[in-house]
């Protein structure tokens, strides 16, 4: 329905307004398995959406599999989990909490230290480490999906103030990233960082604190979709169920304190079928009632629908019209529910579907800052120092992490508990990433990486353009070179006229004939001297800078 009609229509008093669905997009495809062509185009589409960028090596690898095999491999990571973050900061000299237990270069994740400075340094260490993990990601969906879950649960690590707890939450989500969503919510409910961030640790029978209960329903499980009709009273009752959990700050453990738990029966609204959760006493009361609460929440079809819509917006596109709701969201939600909330099962259905590969769903996804920054590093095969050089590595990761923040995304520190607005804010959604502040900064970042790179401890990371184009079949031909580079970097191909203009003005330095480039390239391959290298490199630099500055590059 048109929004304007909707606003003038009469409604009965007290009736909740229906959320208007966007105008149709003309997509009718559903979740039947995709059976169309499996060329580089489709492989690149799949990889850019599920990993950070599509490198040529990964594209070549998956192209030899079937669609189904490729998705299965992406959903079943075999690479070992990355090692934990290490102490790369200078040791605190606080007399009370000296932080002397661990040496530099070894991990701090099991070391308890309640000094604010130390914990703040550990948050920094964790963020740098995580950026490094993204850059060195394995050939699977794992790392991208972890960023989804961390944003979904919306904790601000710097607000909570404990690096150990932030890492603990990250690891909880990492371990269950492709597992069972209900168990994940159970774990998150008792997670130290979450208890602290949404005041669960202050939630006591005598004066329940509703903060976590509200967000559990509104942001983590049921959402505020048109069918989600739980009430304010439900929030208050859920808060009572969740009373009694506390944080032991000397052991960094969650404890349940039965004396702080509300033992009354909790009665919910008709939306929850007037469920009554029996008040319990004793040491097991908290977990038993939490089980009941999650059983009740997850019995609602709204839960699967809400999460499937979030998956959809994260992996496919942000517009969900009536056809998408009917043909994609509802059947996916049924699969999710019937699998008892198995994340791998529902993502498998989505990523293998006709709808996912629908040509109208390709090339329309505005890259997040992480996608843009990490994706470019990976696609350009950027060479980093070995991980054993932790001092240099962390310093470099910090540079890329800072660039993500500068362009609007702070992993594990979203603006508020709702996560980053690009994943929920009507009507702009992903377009929020791109504005007159962030877009020039994105360009500034790629300009830097093309031209000067980033140097630390006399080691430089830079987009190495000559080796990059050498991976293609015929880099001596300027037309082939441009076609090949654009095939992997862009989803939207440029017109013949544009490519010709770019070739002539940049690669040929306004010369008329292709052989100017060919001769320069052959001279370099025959004799890779510094002088010959510079000749080709100095033409490739403005070429790639220009590519990265085109609006097309912001899409995947």
């Amino acid at each position: 329905m048109d929004r304007r009609d909707f606003l003038t229509a009469k409604r009965r008093k007290g009736e909740k307004a229906p959320v208007p669905l966007p105008a149709p997009r003309g997509l009718t495809s559903g979740i039947n398995p995709y059976g169309g062509p499996w060329t580089e185009n489709e492989v690149i589409h799949l990889l850019k959406r599920t990993m950070f960028g599509a490198t040529k090596a990964d594209v070549d690898y998956f192209k030899t599999r079937s669609v189904s095999q490729a998705v299965d491999e992406l959903l079943n990571p075999t690479a070992p989990q990355p090692g934990p973050p290490v102490k790369e900061y200078t040791t605190s000299t606080q007399p009370g909490t000296p932080d002397a237990n661990i040496a530099q270069g070894t991990t701090w994740i099991n070391d308890i230290n309640n000094d604010g400075t130390v914990q703040s340094q550990r948050i920094g260490s964790y963020k740098k480490w995580w950026t490094g993990v993204l850059i060195n990601q394995d050939r699977s969906i794992r790392e991208k999906l972890i960023t989804f879950w961390v944003d979904h649960f919306g904790n601000e690590a710097s607000d909570v103030g404990y690096g150990n707890w932030a890492y603990r939450q990250h690891d909880l989500l990492r371990q269950s990233v492709l597992g069972n969503f209900k168990q994940m919510v159970d774990g998150v409910t008792k997670d130290l960082s979450m208890l602290r961030y949404l005041n669960g640790y202050l939630n006591v029978a005598t004066a329940p604190d509703e903060n976590y209960a509200r967000e559990l329903l509104e942001l983590f499980t049921l959402g505020k979709g048109p069918g989600s009709q739980y009430t304010e009273a439900d929030v208050k009752e859920a808060a009572k169920v969740l009373t009694g959990w506390q944080i032991n700050a000397t052991t960094y453990t969650t404890v349940f304190n039965a004396t702080r738990h509300s033992t009354v029966n909790k009665t919910f609204s008709s939306f929850f079928n007037s469920t009554i959760i029996t008040g319990r006493t004793g040491a097991t009361a908290g977990q038993l009632e939490l089980n009941d609460l999650l059983n009740m929440i997850f019995a609602s079809p709204e839960c699967a629908k809400f999460i499937c819509r979030k998956f959809y917006r994260f992996f496919v596109y942000y517009t969900i019209d009536q056809a998408t709701e009917t043909n994609v969201i509802e059947p996916l939600a049924a699969i999710f529910r019937n699998s008892n909330y198995d994340i791998r099962v529902v993502l498998s259905a989505l990523l293998k579907s006709e709808h996912f590969f629908d040509v109208l769903n390709q090339n329309c996804y505005i890259k997040s800052p992480a996608d843009h920054i990490v994706g470019a590093l990976r696609e350009m095969n950027t060479v980093f120092p070995p991980l054993s050089d932790w001092n240099t590595s962390y310093g470099m990761w910090n540079f890329f992490y800072a660039n993500m923040i500068n362009t609007g995304q702070n992993l594990h520190d979203p603006p508020n508990v709702s996560g980053h607005p690009a994943y929920y804010q009507e009507p702009l959604f992903h377009e929020i990433w791109i504005n007159s502040d962030s877009l020039p900064k994105r360009n500034q970042y790629t300009d830097t990486m093309v031209n000067s790179g980033y140097t630390r401890n006399n080691i430089r990371v830079i987009f190495n353009l000559v080796p990059y184009v050498q991976q293609f079949s015929n880099p001596g031909n300027p037309n082939d070179l441009i076609d090949d580079a654009l095939k992997y970097l862009f989803r939207n191909q440029l017109s013949y006229e544009s490519k010709k203009a770019i070739k002539t003005q940049i690669l040929l330095s306004n010369q008329l004939y292709d052989y100017y480039w060919t001769n320069a390239w052959m001279a370099y391959t025959a004799s890779p001297t510094t002088a010959n290298f510079n000749i080709v490199n100095n033409r490739l630099k403005p070429l790639f800078q220009y590519f990265f500055n085109l609006s097309e590059y912001q899409l995947s």
Binding site: R3, R4, N435, S436, S495, Q545, S551, L555
Partner: protein, 535 residues
């Protein structure tokens, strides 16, 4: 993206014009309605500026504006966070309520006669979710409506109906709205595009090479590509004017350090003084979600909330002082709001949970000082469910600002709101009677200047005669606009001896506003402000 293309696809062509202005009910306005007539007159003249200060997280209004007259109920309801009665800052002219002790800056603005406190601002059926409530405040929707554009966006869309097509141009060379920060706000979202732009720093823009323009297909991919290209173009278009505006201001008052709101307001003052015609600025300051440890138990006048309020207060005070220093105080008002207030009764975590109505502040030299409304009624034994009842609908504040400050006709203002609340909008006494719509008159003439160069009539509509005195020799008369650009050289010649003379300034076709006539004669130079007004 071309707005017309969009509209032609989405609504019947006959209703094109009203839809452009309204963004709400295309059926409500016929082609001969006053709204359409008003549109034909072009942009409303004004050099007024609104600075919207968002206090994100839900500010505890009861501890910001403390009810003195009902202090015992207030104290009973929240003894663990209550401000001691003897520490409440008093406000001139009222003994019923006072300010949090950390807000000496705002007390100063109020007692100097430049601030309005509006009690218990809210809306029917309050929502307690942060991001839904924020959307309601930004969109000015009803509680049970989803509206995907913002109140300031609809206003700017009315004034500049084809934006961004054809912008910037000579009558509006500057961004329509500026958000300090990296994200674009729903407040300035228009029916089709966002009317605002975001900057984090006024001087550090980055030059972009221009993109080629392959056509875009009519697909989701094409939609996004168009959008990115548009931002790309806007960035280039506005970066120069913003940088230039920022660079013309070299001196400001000292702002508090370690205060991000002050940092933001400092940029705003600089851009206004620098000559931008931008009407709406938005700044945001967060951390007000004080569920726990809102105050220090030992001294409830200190703690997290006190720190936040002090920063707000110090930042606004510095901003107001700066406006005065820059002599733009009559053109600017500031407005604070938060998505909700907090519960009357505090919780045992020494904090307060999500609540409903809360006070708003408006400040500026044209704001009539005083407290509007009564102290919130607080039950003698407040329960956990008790909320501050609404006294003023927040949309009445918005509509009063649009009508009195931005000089919009009342019928147009109501067209910018959901139809069913039009009749409930109040026109509130927020401004001093000295407020004038349209352009602020130039400062009073300096006799020293006037003896050398004057003009008559002033203000003028199309023509005014500039009289001057020369000591002989080379003499130059120029006209300069508010951006500092020389737009006319009216006279340049050598006089054989000292004399008086005059020259006509024909301003037909120029936008209304302030211009400066500049006399240069030997080592002497004098400037005379002139004002062009609508006939």
């Amino acid at each position: 993206m071309k707005r017309r293309d969009f509209l032609q696809k989405s609504i019947p062509a006959a209703t094109l014009l009203p839809a452009l202005i309204n963004g709400y009910s295309v059926k409500a306005f016929a082609a001969d309605s006053p709204l359409v007539q008003a549109l034909m007159q072009g942009v409303t003249e004004t050099d007024h500026v609104l600075v919207i200060i968002q206090l994100a997280g839900g500010n505890d209004g009861l501890n910001m504006v403390v009810p003195v007259s009902t202090y015992s109920s207030y104290f009973n309801a929240r003894s663990n966070v209550a401000i001691p009665q003897n520490r409440i800052l008093s406000l001139s002219g009222t003994s019923a309520s006072g300010l949090h002790p950390a807000m000496t800056g705002m007390q100063n603005i109020f007692n100097n006669g430049n601030m309005k406190v509006i009690q218990a601002v809210g809306y029917p059926q309050p929502n307690f979710s942060h991001f839904r409530a924020t959307d309601i405040w930004m969109s000015a929707s009803n509680s049970d409506q989803e509206v995907f554009n913002g109140w300031a966006g609809r206003y700017l869309n009315y004034e500049y109906p084809n934006f961004p097509t054809g912008y910037p141009n000579t009558s509006m060379p500057d961004p329509l709205a500026i958000q300090i920060g990296s994200t674009t706000s729903l407040t300035t979202q228009g029916p089709v595009v966002n009317m605002g732009m975001s900057i984090t720093s006024a001087t550090s823009f980055y030059n972009l090479i221009s993109g080629t323009t392959d056509p875009v297909p009519n697909t989701p991919a094409g939609k996004e590509l168009k959008y990115i290209r548009l931002v790309n173009q806007q960035t280039q278009k506005y970066s120069t004017v913003i940088r230039n505006a920022a660079n013309t201001v070299t001196q400001q008052v000292t702002y508090p350090t370690n205060n991000s709101l002050a940092d933001q307001l400092k940029i705003v003052a600089r851009l206004i003084k620098g000559g931008l015609r931008t009407r709406v600025y938005m700044v945001s300051f967060g951390g007000f979600d004080t569920h726990s440890v809102q105050v220090n138990a030992a001294d409830t006048t200190t703690g997290a909330h006190a720190t936040l309020l002090q920063r707000v207060s110090d930042a606004c005070k510095a901003f107001q002082d700066d406006l005065q220093f820059l002599q733009i105080q009559d053109r600017v008002i500031g407005m604070t709001y938060s998505e909700f207030g907090r519960r009357i009764k505090s919780n045992s975590s020494v904090g307060t949970d999500h609540g409903a109505a809360a006070p708003m502040f408006l400040f500026g030299s044209k704001i009539a000082t005083g407290v509007l409304g009564d102290n919130p009624s607080i039950p003698a034994n407040a329960s956990v469910n008790d909320n501050v009842p609404m006294q003023y609908d927040f949309r009445s504040i918005y509509s009063t600002i649009l009508e009195k400050w931005f000089c919009l006709d009342k019928t147009i203002v109501s067209g910018l709101y959901p139809p069913n609340i039009n009749s409930q909008l109040q026109s509130l006494p927020l401004f001093k009677s000295s407020i004038s719509c349209s352009t602020t008159p130039p400062p009073p003439p300096d006799p020293n200047v006037d003896s050398l160069i004057t003009n008559y009539p002033n203000p003028f509509t199309d023509n005014t005669r500039i009289s001057f005195r020369t000591e002989g020799g080379h003499t130059l008369i120029q006209v300069i606009d508010t951006l500092g650009r020389v737009i006319r050289t009216l006279l340049e010649k050598d006089y054989p001896s000292a004399t008086t003379d005059s020259v006509n300034f024909n301003a037909e076709g120029l936008p209304t506003g302030v211009y400066y006539a500049r006399l240069q004669n030997g080592v002497t130079q004098k400037v005379r402000p002139m004002m062009k007004v609508r006939p």
